[in-house]
């Protein structure tokens, strides 16, 4: 009976109903899609930043992350590798030795990160190899070949085939220097990284830098990147404490970026909430006007014996029908957009070069189609709309029948 009555009332006030439904549809679609787009693009940005070089899971000597130095290295690489190889969750582990060195060309001498990597394995844990733009990536047999960031190569005024020299120090802080040939040039799009990093094959530099059994980082690639935090916890427990190591997932190593993205989301939602406040305010006013117009009718209903609660239920039901009529198709519309842009991300490839200059290493920004997130947004919207309708509803149901009937 309530439902019939409610439906009748909705139909009798077509304009109010239509505007309310459309507003809610529009608002829900925007909320769902913006949420999906923010989440999707943030994930993409974090993923690129993580995968370019830092990678998902890092093991370092205790305290190395806060203050890098030869006193805080991984001192027993072989023992660590033995432990890692025995873990079924570990897909691959590779070592890096990072040091600060002076790179000297015929034109320039510049300080830079000089990192010794295991070229084949490195190619699987980072995007170093994919970022090649000229020449070739390193190989496991390379001698004094160097793989240089594009901006660094530009500053040194060298190109593929040029000669360089490095002057640095080894794991025992002894002096290390040698000549290098530029084998390849890479560009990841992270300007600072491309501007200050150079890579060499570990087996070549091992004797020169007295690396022996040491490394500055061991990078672990988990079978399932979504469970990297669990794996980090697991490894922290399983690594023998006498090795003096700490395990960090990308959520920790890249905490600054993760925080920046969270702040960005918060500001995104704040901006949206201003829009929603306006929309909800309009809905409140429309509801108020519609219900005021029916004050007399409500008074009569009360006079012929309807209880306050019955009237409240009736009006709430009307509101709920309108809300759902807006929110459900709105959610579907927003969801459809989210799905479409997940499959066909916004592409900025035409501006990729400019993007890289601004330190953005992504050329596409996808949305994220997540049912839970869409349902969450729809529920939020439904509750907000009902709240907006509640104020006028409560006002009118509290009127006394005689008072209401006299209302014109």
């Amino acid at each position: 009976m309530f439902l019939d009555l409610a439906w009748k009332n909705i139909c009798s006030q077509r304009r109010r109903s239509l505007v309310t439904v459309l507003l809610l549809l529009f608002a829900t679609a925007i909320l769902v899609f913006s949420g999906a787009f923010m989440e999707g693009s943030h994930r993409q940005m974090i993923r690129s930043a993580v995968e370019i070089y830092p990678s998902y899971l890092q093991i370092t000597g205790n305290g190395y992350r806060d203050e890098p130095g030869v006193d805080r290295l991984v001192f027993d690489l072989a023992a660590l590798n033995n432990v890692l190889n025995a873990q079924s969750e570990v897909a691959l582990a590779t070592s890096r030795y990072e040091s600060f060195a002076l790179l000297v060309s015929d034109h320039q001498a510049l300080g830079a990160l000089l990192a010794a990597v295991e070229p084949d394995k490195e190619a699987q844990v980072s995007r170093l190899k994919q970022s090649l733009i000229r020449g070739e990536y390193l190989s496991n047999n390379d001698q004094n070949q160097v793989y240089l960031g594009r901006e660094l190569a530009q500053r040194l005024k060298v190109d593929v085939g040029s000669n360089l020299a490095f002057v640095g120090s080894g794991a025992d802080s002894s002096f290390a220097a040698d000549r290098l040939h530029v084998k390849g040039i890479f560009q990841t799009g992270l300007f600072d990284f491309d501007n200050s990093s150079a890579f060499v094959n570990r087996t070549y530099i091992e004797p020169l830098m007295a690396l022996d059994n040491t490394a500055s980082h061991v990078i672990v690639l988990p079978h399932n990147p979504d469970q990297v935090q669990d794996l980090a916890r697991l490894l922290s427990q399983r690594l023998p404490p006498e090795l003096g190591l700490e395990v960090r997932s990308w959520q920790e190593t890249m905490s600054g970026l993760v925080e920046a993205m969270t702040v960005d989301s918060i500001f995104g939602y704040l901006t949206l909430s201003v829009l929603f406040l306006v929309i909800l305010f309009v809905i409140t006013i429309y509801t108020l006007l519609a219900i005021m117009a029916r004050t007399r009718e409500i008074g009569i209903l009360r006079a012929i014996g309807s209880s306050q609660r019955q009237i409240f239920t009736l009006l709430l039901l009307e509101g709920l029908i309108l809300t759902l009529a807006g929110v459900i198709p709105g959610g579907m519309l927003g969801g459809a957009f989210a799905w479409y842009f997940q499959e066909n991300p916004f592409s900025f490839s035409a501006w990729e070069e400019q993007f890289k200059q601004y330190n953005l290493a992504v050329s596409t920004l996808p949305a994220l189609f997540s049912l839970t997130q869409i349902l969450r947004d729809m529920i939020i919207m439904t509750l907000a709309a009902l709240m907006a309708m509640l104020v006028p509803l409560l006002r009118v149901t509290r009127l006394r029948p005689t008072e209401a009937m006299r209302h014109v």
């Binding site: 305290g63 002076l102 000297v104 001498a109 002057v167 802080s173 002096f175």
Partner: protein, 249 residues
């Protein structure tokens, strides 16, 4: 008239009393540097760098003239023999035989460790010029020492905020230098000891550098002066960039 003259003389003495004390600290510092570096100095020394993994020993010859010119040649270990350094005009050049290159150490690298020690490239360039870069005043004294407090001159491009130099009254040579950063944190301490006669003067045969920052406790650098000769003629040639390569052999 005579009375007036006498009073003005007393006044003059009184007024100039304050600057005299300040000049005193400056001249103590000057004197210390003169004794430590001489007009010219030829020093053979060993530098031992220690950390939690062990010790590493290097040997080198240092030729200096005045305060601002210094030539250093590494003589041990064999793999580093022939690496040479030249400090002139506030710049630092290096020659590495293995790569056959003369390199000017860029400004950005000046604070990097020198040869893996706890001395930085900047120390090599500036350490002997404290009196040029810092104001000094006497902050404490007892029967055996003066303590000079050095604060950076406004225009001096230095890395330390404040230095405390403990000076032996007996030798007018340093016993200890404490280096503070701009936040007034003690960063490192350099201690001079084993005073003995070398090259015709009393000279500290051991210099011991200890970083004081958290996490650096296990690091240290020790310089043992093996031979020293002062105020000899050093050929002008030695302090030229050509010498970097020529004297490397």
């Amino acid at each position: 008239m005579q009375l007036l003259l006498r009073y003005s003389l007393i006044g003059l003495i009184l007024f100039s009393a304050t600057p005299l004390v300040a000049a005193d600290a400056e001249s103590l510092l000057q004197e210390m540097e003169d004794r430590l570096y001489g007009d010219t100095a030829i020093i053979k020394l060993a530098m031992v760098v220690g950390n939690r993994r062990g010790e590493r020993r290097m040997e080198m010859e240092s030729y200096s003239s005045g305060r601002d010119r210094n030539f250093i040649k590494i003589t041990y270990p064999a793999k580093d023999r022939g690496i040479t350094f030249l400090k002139i005009d506030n710049g630092l050049w290096q020659y590495v035989p293995r790569i056959e290159k003369i390199i000017k150490i860029p400004a950005a690298m000046m604070l990097q460790s020198w040869m893996g020690s706890d001395f930085s490239n900047d120390d090599l360039v500036r350490e002997s010029l404290l009196s040029r870069d810092y104001h000094s005043s006497i902050s404490a004294e007892d029967d055996e020492t003066w303590t000079l407090e050095l604060t950076a001159r406004a225009e001096a491009p230095v890395v330390w905020g404040r230095l405390l130099v403990v000076l032996s009254r007996e030798h007018l040579l340093p016993l200890r230098v404490d280096y503070y950063d701009e936040e007034n944190q003690l960063i490192r301490t350099l201690e001079y000891s084993r005073y003995s006669e070398m090259g015709g003067r009393i000279y500290p045969a051991r210099w011991f550098m200890q970083p004081r920052e958290a996490g650096q406790e296990e690091r240290w650098t020790r310089i043992d002066v093996m031979e020293a000769a002062f105020d000899l003629d050093i050929p002008e040639e030695t302090f030229s960039k050509r010498a970097l390569k020529r004297l490397s052999r």
